[in-house]
């Protein structure tokens, strides 16, 4: 569903992503991990079609900046980016209409209920707490019923209940065949539902690990081994999938 081939992103002389290649199939959860400044958000923004890049990115077989690809993709940014003068319900209505998704009130209400926003549906986004803004940002991506979804640090700012609901949702989306790419720092929260983890360092993949393979090291141990104090991979070969 998500296919990233030899993507390089430069900001002047700074190479934020160097020759990144990976894919996320339908019904799979791929995790992007790495220290601050590793290039996770940059590759996510490239996939979302927000940045120019060298290489090729396709979504459902369509170039990522095409209208067909945009219809398939949901994106949850790192910082909630909402409209202060719209209510919670109007955000969802706005996206449903722009994406031309048929009205499905039970589905929308269920989403609102699940993330404890139903009572707040007529509240302006400006009046929401930071955590609620993050929940609404997630619902904005879900309301268009995407076939692929990218989460950039989705768990930051959420309360334990919302974290539990979101992790449950990740599994449900996997069951529904949605391809998911999740960038996170919270290693412990992804331990039990990932299919593939890409550990990034200095704009490159330092390692890729599949969940169906046997490993002696835990994800956390591998992460710290690959992103040692000086930020350079200490051991382990550089891999690309």
């Amino acid at each position: 569903m998500l296919d990233i081939r030899h993507v390089t992103k430069r900001y002047g002389k700074l190479v934020a992503n160097h020759d990144i290649s990976f894919s996320v199939d339908e019904g799979k959860i791929a995790i992007l991990m790495g220290p601050n400044g590793a290039g996770k958000s940059t590759i996510i923004k490239c996939i979302a079609g927000l940045l120019r890049f060298e290489g090729e990115i396709t979504i459902g077989g369509f170039p990522n900046k095409s209208i067909e690809a945009k219809k398939l993709l949901g994106y949850v940014p790192e910082m909630p980016a909402l409209y202060e003068a719209l209510t919670v319900a109007e955000h969802l209505e706005f996206l449903r209409r722009t994406y031309k998704v048929p009205e499905d009130k039970p589905y929308t209400d269920a989403l609102l209920e699940r993330f404890e926003l139903y009572e707040k549906r007529d509240t302006l986004a400006k009046e929401l707490s930071k955590g609620m803004q993050q929940k609404l940002s997630i619902l904005c991506a879900l309301t268009i019923r995407p076939r692929a979804i990218i989460f950039d640090e989705p768990l930051v700012g959420l309360d334990p209940y919302a974290i539990r609901e979101l992790t449950k949702l990740f599994r449900e989306l996997r069951e529904a065949g949605v391809a998911q790419l999740i960038s996170t720092h919270m290693i412990s929260t992804v331990e039990d539902y990932w299919d593939v983890v890409h550990i990034m360092n200095k704009g490159e993949f330092a390692a890729t690990r599949y969940n169906n393979e046997c490993h002696e090291q835990s994800l956390e141990e591998l992460f710290f081994q690959l992103t040692g104090e000086d930020g350079k991979p200490i051991t382990g070969e550089k891999e690309e999938s």
């Binding site: 927000l50 910082m79 003068a85 719209l86």
Partner: protein, 523 residues
């Protein structure tokens, strides 16, 4: 041993200077700004104005009084709602919690606020050419006017903070103080209106006279404009009284804060946190919420399908942010433009029209599109980019048409233009609005990746001037060649109308793919 607060102020200042010197973009910006300042001085002094053609400088000090009063009262009014802060979040976390006396921290805050207030008034220094040729003022006078503006901003902030601190503990007290202040201002406004009622022909001179005599007693703005006028006329008693009055006002307010039982730390905390969140969000491109009051109205998003939902959403957002169709800022721009043309009536339509076009540049930037661009949705929406571009600026077009009608038609009538010329003047004004709107899109297209926002602003002005130039040049050529359709004024308006419309359409066409991707690394 030096006070840590002085050390902090000094290091921040030095590091900011270093930041400018070390960053090529910021250095270019500084050089451009300094170059433009020199240019205005050079251009202003290149031709000494004929003393007989100079306008009464009291007019300028009356304008200064209005400007100072507006900023002082508008900022001070925040004291009745959200208050004011002179502190950053770092101050709250590191200075407020440190073992400093509250008075010292307040002086620290006042000092840094004075510095930021000076920056706010910089735009005045660029008006030298126009002011020197119209009123014959020197650069020393202009610097005094600039200092007066900055001090008005500073006093407004301080007043807001004091009012909030002294009234925040009791809603009743706040209401009473508010009522008293509004009452006094209402009485003064009524007295001004009553004293000006009479012969329309002498309205302007009477208003000017009132502003530089009786209203010179009005706190802060009256004192400061009086001091500025005193410098121009050599009345140093006025300079001294105006300056001392303002200093005493600042001293009194500072005394009130330090002697009051209320804890101003708590009063500034909320607004400091809000300001910090807004700045952080704006920097990171996230929830760049403003402190704009939202007026809840009925109505919801029930129209549109695809890209045109943007248009309906923008209208809904506008109706919640402003009670009137045109925003308060737009209405102020219109009033200021009309007042300017009233003052400059004898100079003909060119002066009033040019100034209104200048103000229009700022009005265009008030549309919703700039607020849409930092968010990811407009790029993610699965619709053709040109369609999204059109619907994202569509909300501005009827607004700017109304703005042009309310602004340019009165200006044309004030300058005695005929009905046909008034229509063409309004259309030419709208063509500039359309041109600037397209210019705005162009600037976002080409310069949106710049990390220095101030540099983007400089490029914005340069772009607007370049886009407007062909129309103005064409009008000048027609005028020189003696080409006349209806009248010479009508010909000039027609030339600008045709040229601006063509250029704006071409620019929008060239930027048609702008919303295919953002190329912003802050989303």
């Amino acid at each position: 041993m030096r006070s840590p607060l002085i050390y902090l102020l000094e290091r921040r200042l030095v590091n900011n200077v270093k930041r400018f010197v070390r960053s090529p973009l910021r250095l270019i910006l500084s050089l451009v700004v300094i170059g433009m300042l020199f240019f205005t001085v050079f251009a202003g002094n290149s031709e000494e104005p004929d003393a007989s053609e100079l306008r009464d400088p009291n007019e300028l000090y009356a304008i200064a009084f209005v400007l100072y009063s507006f900023v002082f009262l508008a900022i001070a009014n925040n004291g009745f709602s959200k208050g004011a802060t002179m502190f950053s979040m770092a101050d709250v976390n590191l200075v407020f919690t440190a073992p400093f006396r509250r008075q010292r921290v307040l002086f620290y805050g006042l000092t840094q606020q004075l510095g930021s207030s000076l920056l706010v008034g910089l735009f005045l220094l660029f008006q030298y050419t126009m002011l020197h040729r119209t009123y014959g003022i020197t650069y020393i006078h202009l610097i005094w006017l600039f200092l007066g503006y900055s001090l008005s901003v500073f006093c407004g902030q301080l007043t807001a903070m004091v009012v909030y601190t002294l009234t925040s503990s009791s809603e009743q007290r706040r209401r009473n103080v508010k009522l008293a202040c509004y009452g006094v201002l209402g009485v003064i406004a009524a007295a001004i209106i009553l004293s000006l009622l009479g012969d329309r022909a002498t309205l302007l001179p009477a208003a000017v006279n009132l502003a530089v005599t009786t209203l010179a007693w009005f706190p802060v703005s009256g004192w400061l404009s009086h001091a500025a006028a005193g410098l121009c006329t050599g009345n140093f008693v006025a300079v001294l009284t105006g300056t001392l009055g303002t200093c005493a006002f600042i001293g009194l307010l500072t005394f009130l804060v330090t002697r009051s039982d209320t804890d101003y730390y708590e009063d500034v905390l909320g607004l400091t946190e809000t300001t910090h969140r807004m700045k952080a969000a704006a920097k990171q491109g996230g929830m760049s919420f403003t402190s704009t009051k939202l007026y809840r109205r009925k109505g919801s998003l029930k129209k549109g399908w695809g890209a045109d939902v943007l248009f309906h959403k923008h209208n809904l957002e506008n109706s919640r942010e402003d009670t009137l169709y045109l925003s308060l800022s737009m209405l102020i721009f219109i009033v200021v433009s009309i007042l300017f043309s009233l003052i400059m009536r004898e100079a003909g339509i060119a002066a009033g029209f040019s100034f209104a076009v200048y103000m229009l540049m700022f009005a265009v930037s008030l549309g919703r599109m700039p607020k849409e661009l930092p968010r990811p949705y407009i790029y993610l929406i699965p619709e053709p980019p040109f369609k999204k571009l059109f619907w994202s600026i569509a909300e501005s077009l009827p607004k700017l048409a109304l703005y042009s009608l309310l602004c340019f038609a009165p200006i044309a009538l004030i300058c005695g233009l005929s009905a046909a010329e008034t229509v063409l003047c309004t259309l030419a004004g709208f063509s500039f609005a359309y041109l600037f709107l397209s210019g705005f899109v162009l600037v976002e297209r080409v310069f949106s990746g710049l990390t220095v926002r101030a540099l983007e602003l400089v490029f914005f002005f340069i772009t607007m001037v370049l886009l407007a130039a062909p129309g103005i040049v064409l009008a000048a050529i027609f005028n020189t060649m003696g080409v006349t359709i209806l009248s010479s004024d009508a010909t000039i308006f027609l030339a600008m109308l045709a040229c601006n419309s063509l250029i704006a359409t071409i620019v929008l066409y060239l930027c048609r793919n702008m919303l295919a991707y953002a190329e912003l690394n802050n989303l």
